[in-house]
Symmetry: C2
């Protein structure tokens, strides 16, 4: 029920996703007056979909605390509950981010050994794609949080992006070992010892995000959120300037028509809808957050991310990595200051 184009884009997104992945099965939670007519529009969903009518909806401006207290019969809460009760393997929502995260954290709990969930997402880059976390769940982080983010990002890049030995970089203001906060230096020290757990590259700077210097960019949720939104703002800005350029004269318009097919490629690569499906990683269950502005295609991508999380059993791999980290740290003790 959440998101700018809901619930239509959610049901159409299910149809698109089911078309691409025949193994999918759905449980839908929402208002019958809206959902039932939509389900009739996509009859192919009938045999693979179970619908539950929910009278309440979490509104986009509801405070998380209010949503938790008053939203017990909301579509969002019941969808999360289905994962808690193991009736579903994962949940996807385009609704109120704060409320969704609060519910996911409280009811799905955390993986043992992960202290904080992080928002992870993927970006296009000069070398293909990279993942970045935390994109906004934790404004302040300790070195241990950053190490846990590195482990989760590593597993995600391996399993979801298919990178064999992902390079992990810590976002900083310089590459030298002594640059930045002490939290970053402490995290780097631990990651250097985690030789068999992760392929730690070192500190990276803001321009390395687009360069694709590493596969996994690790940062606190404040810096990550600023970087993410700065990129979104600039991509929109440049695209609107391009539009202006092509409308500036009839010659330019003709030029656009001639190069249009090539342009579609670039627009596709930049398309935020393609990279939809930021998720809270570190939870005891799979919970994917679709962009509120998602269309059906973007929503189907969020569904695919959820399905891949489940089929690759990311959480088990994160648990295994945490055990490997413990072994690594025992084997490679911290250097003693001389």
């Amino acid at each position: 029920m959440g998101g700018d184009r809901a619930p239509h884009m959610a049901i159409e997104g299910m149809s698109l996703a089911a078309h691409a992945d025949r193994s999918l099965r759905f449980q839908v939670f929402g208002d019958a007056t809206h959902i039932e007519p939509l389900l009739k529009k996509f009859p192919e969903l009938a045999p693979i979909t179970e619908f539950t009518h929910t009278p309440d909806v979490i509104k986009s401006d509801d405070k998380p605390t209010i949503a938790l207290r008053q939203g017990r019969n909301s579509s969002m809460r019941l969808a999360v509950d289905a994962v808690v009760k193991k009736q579903a393997k994962g949940v996807v929502s385009a609704g109120n981010t704060g409320a969704y995260m609060a519910m996911a954290k409280i009811f799905l709990k955390m993986i043992d050994g992960i202290e904080r969930p992080a928002i992870i997402g993927s970006f296009p880059s000069a070398s293909g794609a990279c993942v970045m976390l935390d994109l906004g769940a934790n404004v302040q982080c300790t070195a241990e949080h950053l190490v846990q983010f590195s482990i989760m990002g590593n597993v995600y890049a391996k399993e979801i992006l298919g990178v064999k030995s992902p390079k992990i970089g810590l976002l900083n203001v310089g590459e030298e070992e002594l640059k930045g906060h002490s939290v970053l230096q402490d995290a780097a020290m631990i990651l250097r010892r985690a030789k068999k757990t992760v392929n730690y590259y070192g500190f990276i700077e803001g321009d390395d995000i687009a360069k694709g210097t590493v596969d996994v960019i690790v940062t606190d949720g404040f810096t990550g959120n600023v970087a993410l939104k700065t990129i979104e703002g600039w991509v929109t800005f440049i695209m609107s300037m391009l539009k202006e350029v092509f409308n500036s004269s009839w010659l330019a318009r003709l030029g656009y028509l001639l190069s249009m097919s090539a342009f579609k490629g670039i627009r596709n690569q930049m398309n935020p809808q393609k990279h939809n499906g930021a998720m809270l990683i570190g939870l005891g269950g799979v919970a994917i957050k679709s962009h509120g502005g998602a269309d059906a295609y973007a929503f189907s991508n969020a569904i695919h991310v959820a399905a891949r999380m489940v089929s690759h059993d990311l959480n088990q791999q994160i648990r295994d990595s945490l055990m490997q980290l413990e072994k690594d740290l025992k084997k490679n003790p911290a250097p003693v200051a001389s």
Copy 2:
């Protein structure tokens, strides 16, 4: 003597700057064997230039501590000294950033009431241009530092960009009053009371940088540096993708030729060389840092920024604003928690 294309681009940059601004007078510090032949190439500089031979040069990888100790006869140090001794009104260098900042801070000292200098720079945005600080001088900041940055950014936007009543925004991860670090909330509280000193807008997010929501973006040096370099990386990335698009077929190439003149406009607007001349604001004297990769045009822009700083007497205006702030804070006491 510093910078990738030095000293040629510096001397040529002087010539370009002198052409545009007849009031400029130069003192040049550097190695005579390199500088003197260059000065002969630009004879128009002879009557307005005083040259001092300096035997030593600060190398780009010298540590600031080494540069301070061993660089007493370097071109950089003697150029800074000329401002200290009031023989020059400002200094411009494209050399080693760390060494330059250390020298500037130690020898030019700070404006009374400003605790930390900040790196300030201007960016293109959807509404024209905006300034952002701190771009990397201070990894950690207090609320008071952010308030001082706001005052300096305000004066800069007024005098250098010509904005009448610049809107000041604090970079955060959400617009709501309770979002982000306590440092940001404390700074916002002070800025709300500084009614006659600045036009405080509120919290902004990363995408507001390109949108031009405010004229002055205030943030700590860690976040500012990451945002700056993230933008630089993405602009380069998108430009290289565009190049690829236009080379992808003969139709696309023809399209480019037709729209080329319009494209030049966009490239010009994005041109980092145009926005050259980041500076340390808050110092007792004018010290401009040109990009190391600057060409002559970019270097001339850095010279113009220095000249404008001097002619508009930015430092006096910053002192006046600090006095206004004191009055404002007395008149509008902090709200008492109830």
